[in-house]
């Protein structure tokens, strides 16, 4: 039949249904886009800290939208009010939707009460990127750190999120760790909520 399989074209985006959408996006397309983004930002800044900050800001915008969308799609409109709840939300749901699998591990920091770490053997965004020696500790995972920060910040858990390389013996490439340090008010509120 003519017309079957043809998508209805909506004149305005607000009319379009907010459905599951396409589950998969081409990895190479994303890798190209991401590498262009990094290169563009490299021409605009003078130092590495600024470059990391820009990538983080780009990720923050993504995180804000991902939080709303996923809470609507996956969790049937139930919000997260507890710390562990939001952390496991990031660790499984967000990671699954963005990278196709849950994160490798979620750990609580031993030195400080307010630190948590999400570890990943190889971040998807870093797969096709190699860091030259003179850039030192720069990590393009700052983009992912920005996404996590966007999710946490908008859910009401302000935090400082950074990405680090952690060398592991027996493995050629270092493991990537996203370090999450929550603000004072989050811990106070958690204690109050019991």
């Amino acid at each position: 039949m003519i017309g079957v399989g043809k998508m209805k074209l909506y004149s305005n985006v607000l009319d379009r249904p907010l459905s599951k959408g396409k589950q998969e996006v081409s990895l190479s397309a994303f890798a190209f886009l991401f590498s262009e983004m990094v290169q563009y930002n490299q021409t605009q800044v003078d130092n590495i800290a600024e470059l990391e900050r820009r990538l983080e800001d780009a990720g923050y915008a993504v995180g804000a939208r991902v939080l709303e969308l996923l809470c609507h799609r996956e969790k049937g409109n139930r919000r997260e009010t507890r710390l562990l709840g939001i952390l496991s939300f990031v660790h499984s749901t967000v990671w699954k939707v963005l990278f196709g699998k849950v994160a490798d591990s979620l750990e609580k920091g031993t030195e400080h009460e307010d630190e948590y770490m999400i570890s990943e053997k190889e971040l998807l965004v870093n797969r096709f990127i190699s860091i030259p020696k003179d850039m030192g500790t720069f990590n393009c995972g700052a983009f992912v750190a920005g996404i996590v920060r966007g999710v946490l910040d908008n859910a009401g858990f302000p935090a400082v999120v950074t990405a680090h390389f952690v060398p592991v013996e027996g493995q050629q490439r270092p493991r990537t760790t996203i370090l999450i340090k929550f603000a004072e008010e989050v811990l106070r509120r958690e204690a109050r909520l019991g």
């Binding site: 305005n12 985006v13 607000l14 379009r16 907010l18 915008a61 804000a64 939208r65 939080l67 709303e68 969308l69 996923l70 809470c71 609507h72 409109n77 139930r78 919000r79 997260e80 009010t81 709840g85 908008n154 859910a155 009401g156 509120r189 909520l193």
Partner: protein
């Protein structure tokens, strides 16, 4: 059907990013200011209540004369959909909130939309008013 209703979307720092008078009765000018004032005063209560429950719809959290404030808190905690009304149609209000929430998510997905800025699309406005007529 409800006679008076004032709908507002409040974002971070308690700045309204969208407002609409969606009642069916004729409006008095000074009532509009009063509605905004009432909704603003209810924000404190919302903030406390939001942390005690994981649901999104908080109904009837505050009263003023015969008007009731109902609030729907989205996942991005700073965005609250607030409705000031005098009807008792809880289910209708909940469905209204859910539909407007979907519209809000679609607006938010626009990468050029800065979260927390005013929603100026006339299409959004038309749709919200149509939904209000349908559910309220």
């Amino acid at each position: 059907m409800a006679s008076t209703a004032c709908f507002m979307i409040v974002s971070k720092n308690d700045i309204p990013i969208y407002e609409a008078e969606v009642g069916a009765a004729p409006r008095k000018e000074e009532a509009a200011h009063q509605h905004q004032f009432i909704l603003h005063a209810a924000l404190d209560i919302v903030q406390d209540l939001a942390w005690t429950t994981s649901a999104m719809f908080l109904k009837g959290i505050d009263r003023f004369n015969d008007l009731v404030v109902s609030v729907y808190v989205t996942a991005g905690l700073h965005t609250r959909l607030m409705l000031l009304h005098d009807s008792r149609n809880d289910d209708g209000i909940k469905s209204f909130f859910q539909e407007v929430h979907e519209l809000y998510i679609k607006t938010l997905l626009n990468p050029l939309y800065l979260p927390g800025s005013r929603i100026t699309s006339s299409h959004f406005d038309t749709k919200v008013r149509a939904l209000a007529r349908k559910y309220l």
